[in-house]
């Protein structure tokens, strides 16, 4: 038996051996033998756990260990394997890639494809098992069998049908949960099911209020509420008060269409509660008969209303899971699936609500941990994994059960005094960042399965710390508790996932330490990562002061970092109390049967416009009650005025204001309206668009060879550097659309990783490399940073504040001169991107959500006007930079090149690179190759791996050039190109000027330069692209819209016959780009980060504050 398979099949400590420890000692033959044995093993084993772990071992061997020994010679990755991978036919993809490996020998390229396939299959296997387990939880199974109204078994409790014409309202109020520790994200499903002993969470149910909101602070209360009642219309009426959304659902299709509106969570609750069972999805029967069976009355339906009381998104308090649980609970109470109609719940009922919440999250395509619905339980509790026993659906499949057990701490175990101390010392905040925790949870799963030494030690330490934390709680020692929580954050959590921390959080902790010294007792990370919901423990005597100061401190830090860190909202401080009841329901009858006040601002205006005789009896009664409440109840005071404001909106001030500001910006940045109108006409006429980006189908596109990196030219490069012939240009006009999914931060300034012991942004890394190169070659290298209207001010201010990060050489900013105005996309382009271009299919449920979302976005494009200006967002989010072709050309137009020549008259070569190509550097050998070749431009290319999509090096109709992915007539052509463009260019200044028809002397003549740039720009293809743009609204809510924009790309310069271009192959660590945060973990682990760090010389810089 192979060493690795024996780890998987062992019991005891051997099971926890690290894959890395074994693989480090293996050569290529040894690794391939282990891979073959593991592949056989995973196919033969019946054990779910063994299969999953084997898949992750295979992934890790191909991702991290084989590339280390196999070298990175370029190889083709079979397109049929890639297609299988996109279609989620993982087994078939693996077969294709293994056959290629067998045929051509191992290679880093094929290993990249195998790694991606094994990883995806691993996660799919896990997801399938969780789904099976959720469905097989007793109490959930029947819902998947109920496929027709005739089989529908639920009936409303009679109490809800009494009191016509207006029926009573059942209101559920649910606290949220606050994790003291989750033992290193041990609440992820797989960990609980495989390692129940290590899956433990301590959390508390809490009430919340925003501190100081509205002058007089409201007292904390359960933050999520759900209301349920019968109505005299045969619909399911859903209203989210906080999202200001309402809909009357009339068909099963609408119930299952989550992305259609903002009511997806309510719909998931309706389904997971069994009110409309999941088994009925796809039924073509009308909804009305089901409602008739449910209510026992013809022409009646139900209304469900939810409200999240002032708690913004990203609070890390599992607000959405607990809201889902609240919806499920109220619906289950109403249908007698929970024994008690009002008050608290019995343990069995809480457990089924938690199971249904997991189901609801799966239906909605989101994924919480198994402890997230902790708010349903009262007080402080230990939630822990449980071994699967005979009779459990998981028995024989996994070691642990899907659902954990909850042990609520009694007042003897954690006395009242301790609970009061906790309330008196903790300052609970939302830092304002809203980030996706999903990738972190995937990393945790992966690292758990691989048992990498450090991370496994971290996990064991986190498990130990839970006992320590519980001990401090039981003793009531808050200072010690703070210290343990801080240790948990700085130790195991960041050992397992370095990305749990960030510069913003660390700055806050540092400032708290400085300001409160010994009275700051520790930082407490809530939920999956820091930056959003967080806790700071203080000496109780200073809590009030700390609450006020933390608000100021967070706001200041946010302002200092708003260009480099994605904030979704202004930070807030909460007031909180521990909720000792858990989720509770009350039945409101007669005059008390009122919805929350804000509900009426949504529903009354349309009713007021309706003639009285046409109002149903229920609505009439309700209006009477509401009117009475406005006179007598404080929470409804002022509602009449508010409703009038809704009836008669006070002009279009906001929209006009935004429009004015956008107009100013367009004017300020030299927006070319004529060109814009021309592009719009062409877009609408279909002359340009995603399909038209492509080269003619008749183009002959073949693979081309790159030059090897010939070290013998190093001396030539060194000589050129020593005499000041070289400058560096970092392209920093972008806002990292993929990095933050359209949040609009300056990517160059994003502190993406800890390097050299502290957080560094991309800009600092590039300057540190130039510093090192300057020292190494004995000449200060001029460094240019190109900017755009989106990035210029922020970068300039930042460099100023940081004193250029101590960079002693010439540092110039090259401001952008061209901007575009984004447009609402054409339906045909959206369809082309989503339906005709190969896309990574998602897991079945997520794919369904995505298709629904696409339909909704196509409807949005139609209603907003295809090809019209995109203006319904913050002005800066409506503009776009027009591609890095202009960033280079602007060096000529804005005088930067002239300045460079003035500083370095002997300037001959410019290194141009993307801001996210972290390994790009002034390498004398590459420069030497460039100089020796006499080329006008030398492009660095890397051997293509699976993830490198977007064109590459090709021979197009006989000319070797770069070709953009957008321009390839067919997708499979890309897989025939072995080299990927790293977008790092060495440019000969004079030859470039010649290509523009210019000379150094002519650079002084701005008009001539402008004309030359315009003339060459005309020869460059214009690509229409779709970009995601975030629109923020409400309390941390974000919508992502696809918008159309155009761009010209520098790589197309290689198609110019008058510019002689060469292409040199460089190592991957040098040429790879960081486009998404999800890449960071592997980048750190595979040696890329260490490589980049080795190129840098850090200067101590001031902090960002």
């Amino acid at each position: 038996m192979s060493r690795l398979t024996s780890i998987i099949t062992s019991c005891g400590e051997k099971r926890d051996l690290a894959l890395d420890a074994v693989c480090r000692g293996l050569d290529l033959a040894g690794l391939l033998e282990e891979c073959r044995a593991m592949e056989r093993f995973r196919r033969e084993t019946d054990s779910f756990y063994e299969r999953v772990r084997a898949l992750f071992f295979l992934y890790a061997m191909h991702r991290f260990h084989l590339p280390r020994v196999v070298g990175d010679a370029p190889r083709l990755i079979p397109f049929d394997g890639y297609e299988n991978l996109l279609q989620r036919r993982f087994e078939e993809a693996i077969e294709v890639f293994l056959a290629a490996q067998e045929r051509e020998g191992a290679s880093a390229a094929i290993s990249s494809a195998l790694a991606a396939s094994y990883r995806a299959l691993g996660f799919q296997t896990l997801a399938d098992q969780v789904r099976r387990s959720v469905r097989s939880v007793r109490g959930n199974q029947w819902m998947f069998r109920a496929g027709h109204t005739e089989n529908y078994p639920l009936r409303l409790r009679k109490e809800l049908l009494q009191g016509e014409p207006a029926f009573p309202i059942l209101r559920e109020a649910t606290p949220v949960r606050m994790d003291l520790t989750h033992s290193g994200w041990s609440d992820i499903f797989f960990l609980g099911m495989d390692f129940p002993e290590g899956a433990r969470v301590v959390n508390a149910s809490i009430n919340l209020a925003v501190h100081g909101a509205g002058g007089s602070a409201p007292s904390p209360r359960p933050p999520v509420e759900a209301w349920f009642r019968v109505i005299d219309e045969p619909v399911i009426r859903l209203t989210s008060v906080d999202l200001k959304a309402t809909a009357d659902v009339r068909s099963f299709d609408e119930v299952f269409d989550f992305p259609r509106d903002y009511l997806g969570l309510l719909k998931a609750g309706v389904i997971a509660s069994g009110l409309v069972p999941p088994g009925i999805e796809g039924s073509t029967e009308p909804l009305e008969p089901l409602l008739e069976r449910l209510t026992g009355r013809t022409g009646h339906g139900i209304e469900l209303v939810t409200c999240v009381n002032d708690i913004p998104k990203g609070s890390r308090l599992a607000v959405s899971t607990n809201l889902l649980a609240s919806i499920i609970a109220v619906c289950m109470r109403a249908t007698a699936q929970i024994r008690t109609l009002t008050g608290g719940m019995e343990e069995a009922d809480r457990r089924i609500v938690a199971a249904r919440a997991i189901l609801g999250e799966w239906l909605g395509g989101s994924g919480g941990g198994w402890q997230d619905s902790g708010g349903v339980w009262p007080g402080i509790k230990l939630i822990h994994g449980v071994n699967a026993a005979q009779g459990d659906p998981e028995y024989g499949i996994s070691r642990g059960r899907l659902l954990p057990d909850h042990k609520v701490f009694s007042r003897t175990e954690i006395p009242t005094a301790t609970r009061e101390k906790l309330e008196a010392s903790l300052v609970l905040v939302h830092g304002g960042m809203a980030q996706d925790v999903g990738p972190i949870l995937e990393m945790v799963t992966e690292k758990y399965l691989l048992r990498s030494e450090l991370e496994w030690q971290g996990r064991r330490e986190a498990i130990r710390l839970l006992d320590e934390i519980t001990g401090h709680l039981q003793r009531g020692d808050m200072r010690a508790l703070g210290a343990s929580l801080q240790r948990n954050f700085e130790g195991p959590l960041q050992t397992i996932i370095p990305w749990a921390a960030n510069l913003y959080t660390n700055t806050l902790i540092e400032r708290a330490r400085r300001e409160w010294g010994e009275d700051f007792w520790g930082f407490w990370m809530l939920g999956g990562m820091s930056g959003g919901g967080m806790g700071f423990l203080f000496n109780p005597q200073r809590k009030a002061e700390a609450q006020t100061r933390m608000q100021t401190m967070m706001s200041q830090t946010r302002r200092a970092m708003e260009h480099c860190v994605p904030f979704a909202m202004e930070p807030v401080v909460y007031d909180f109390t521990i909720n000792e009841q858990g989720s509770q329901a009350v039945l409101c009858r007669d005059a008390e049967a009122l919805m929350p006040a804000a509900y009426y601002t949504l529903h009354v205006p349309p009713l007021v416009r309706t003639r009285m005789p046409r109002l149903s009896a229920v609505r009439r009664t309700e209006l009477e009650r509401f009117t009475a409440a406005c006179r007598t109840r404080s929470e409804y005071a002022g509602m009449v005025e508010t409703i009038f404001d809704h009836l008669l909106p006070a002009g279009q001030m906001t929209a006009d204001g935004a429009g004015q500001s956008l107009k100013d910006l367009l004017q300020a940045y030299g927006f070319d309206r004529v060109q814009h109108e021309q592009i719009r006409q062409e877009l609408r006429a279909g002359r340009i668009g995603l399909a038209q980006n492509r080269l003619p189908d008749t183009s002959l596109i073949e693979d081309a060879e790159a030059d090897p990196l010939d070290e013998s030219h190093r001396e030539t490069g060194i000589d050129a550097l020593a005499v000041g012939q070289v400058a560096v240009v970092s392209l920093a006009g972008g806002v990292g659309t993929r990095w933050t999914r359209g949040a609009g931060v300056v990517k160059a300034l994003h502190p993406f990783c800890k390097l050299g012991g502290r957080y560094r942004n991309f800009l600092e890394v590039h300057l540190a490399k130039s510093l090192r190169a300057s020292r190494q070659y004995g000449a200060e290298i001029p460094h240019v940073i190109t900017t755009s209207y989106l990035t210029h001010e922020a970068i300039a201010a930042h460099l100023d504040a940081e004193a250029n990060y101590g960079y002693p050489g010439p540092l110039l900013l090259s401001p952008g001169r061209t901007i575009g105005l984004r447009m609402v996309p054409m339906e045909r382009d959206l369809r082309f991107a989503w339906e005709e271009t190969p896309q990574q299919m998602l897991d079945a449920q997520a794919q369904k959500q995505r298709e629904g979302l696409h339909a909704a976005l196509i409807a949005w494009a139609r209603s907003a006007g295809e090809g019209s200006d995109y203006t319904a967002n913050l002005p800066l989010q409506c503009l776009h930079p027009v591609g890095h072709w202009f960033e280079v050309a602007n060096l000529l137009r804005n005088g930067t090149l002239l300045q460079l020549i003035a500083i370095r008259p002997r300037l001959r070569s410019i290194l141009v690179h993307n801001i996210d190509t972290v390994g790009a550097s002034v390498d004398a050998a590459v420069l030497g190759v460039h100089l020796a070749s006499g080329a006008g431009m030398t492009t660095e290319v890397i051997a293509r791996h699976l993830e490198d999509r977007g064109g590459g090096l090709a021979r197009v109709d006989g000319r070797v050039r770069l070709v953009e992915g957008l321009a390839l007539p067919r997708e499979e052509l890309e897989s025939r190109l072995r080299y990927y463009n790293s977008a790092t260019y060495w440019i000969d200044v004079d030859k470039l000027l010649a290509a523009f028809g210019l000379t150094r002397a002519m650079l002084e003549d701005a008009a001539q330069v402008d004309a030359a740039v315009r003339a060459l720009a005309m020869r460059m293809p214009t690509y229409v692209t779709l970009k995601d743009v975030k629109k923020r609204w409400g309390k941390g809510q974000e919508d992502v819209f696809p918008v159309a924009q155009f761009e010209k790309l520098w790589g197309d310069m290689t198609a110019l016959p008058e510019l002689q271009c060469r292409f040199v192959e460089v190592p991957r660590v040098r040429g790879q780009q960081l486009k998404e945060p999800a890449q960071l973990d592997a980048w750190l682990r595979d040696g890329s980060a260490a490589y980049a760090e080795g190129l840098c010389t850090w200067r101590e810089s001031q902090s960002l504050e």
């Binding site: 007793r138 069998r145 109920a146 078994p153 024994r339």
Partner: protein, 289 residues
């Protein structure tokens, strides 16, 4: 254990006319439902029968009992305090004896050679404990019935040891608490409506009624406790039950009885004729248009 007594309940205010409905039995004889139920009880070996009625209904019920009046006692339920209370009204009648119980608005049609009531009485005598008739029932019908959870008695394919009893459970609760190994997925053992009960049930009912202080108590509440206190069995019944209170309940019950009796052919012929006439009339009307 000898079962010599039976209680029929017929006191529900809205259902009290149902036992008086006239049906034609399988032999072609006109009988009230009450008379049929009394005959089924007597055929099971019972000698004394009590019928719990709405106050004032005694006379009409005595007429409906037909020739069996002598062995029937009528007990009025003074207040409408629910099913459990109605049954408890017979506690003095049953005393310390076990008794057969059937509800007065259902018709039971056996498919086997031994009538359902008699089978239950015999089984209770052998096992010396309470026995309820049950039937596997689809989960969509759970809102209509009391349902039991338990385990099959080894060596018997139709007999179960009852561990839990829940009145009209939701499928959510049923899946969690009432799954019976060996019963098809999505089906549960629901009461058939015939029970043989020990005097313990009356004792439990009495206590629960006292605790409930006027709130309704169901028989199921008492049976759930019975299952915790002494052996309690459920036997699968292959017969059919018909609730005369359902829409068309009387018609369906009559048809069921007729189709399993002497006049089956005649009844079938008439149904077919009825349908054929209707179709003919419809097609003629269509042709005329």
């Amino acid at each position: 254990m000898q079962v010599r007594k039976a209680i029929l309940t017929a006191a529900a205010r809205t259902q009290r006319a149902l036992p008086l409905q006239t049906l034609i039995d399988s032999e072609g004889n006109k009988k009230a439902l009450l008379e049929i139920l009394i005959e089924q009880s007597l055929a099971a070996g019972v000698e004394e029968i009590a019928v719990v009625v709405f106050p004032g209904d005694e006379t009409s019920y005595a007429q409906a009992a037909g020739p069996h009046g002598a062995c029937v006692t009528f007990i009025p339920q003074p207040e409408p305090l629910g099913y459990g209370h109605a049954l408890y009204c017979g506690h003095e009648f049953t005393g310390s004896d076990p008794f057969l119980h059937m509800v007065g608005d259902h018709l039971y049609v056996s498919t086997g050679t031994t009538p359902s009531a008699r089978r239950l009485v015999e089984l209770a005598g052998q096992e010396r404990c309470s026995v309820s008739g049950v039937q596997p029932t689809r989960e969509s019908l759970l809102p209509r019935y009391g349902t039991v959870g338990g385990r099959r008695v080894s060596g018997r394919s139709d007999l179960y040891r009852v561990e839990t009893v829940i009145e009209k459970p939701t499928p959510t609760e049923a899946e969690q608490r009432l799954l019976v190994p060996g019963i098809r997925t999505g089906s549960y053992l629901c009461f058939f409506g015939i029970h043989v009960l020990t005097p313990k049930v009356m004792e439990i009912l009495g206590r629960k009624l006292a605790e409930a202080k006027g709130q309704p108590v169901t028989l199921v509440d008492a049976l759930a406790e019975l299952a915790r206190q002494e052996q309690y069995l459920a036997v699968e019944d292959t017969g059919r039950r018909y609730d005369l209170g359902d829409p068309y309940g009387l018609l369906i019950a009559q048809l069921a009885m007729a189709l399993s009796g002497r006049d089956r052919t005649e009844v079938l012929r008439q149904i077919l004729e009825l349908m054929a006439d209707r179709e003919l009339a419809r097609s003629e009307a269509g042709a005329a248009r």
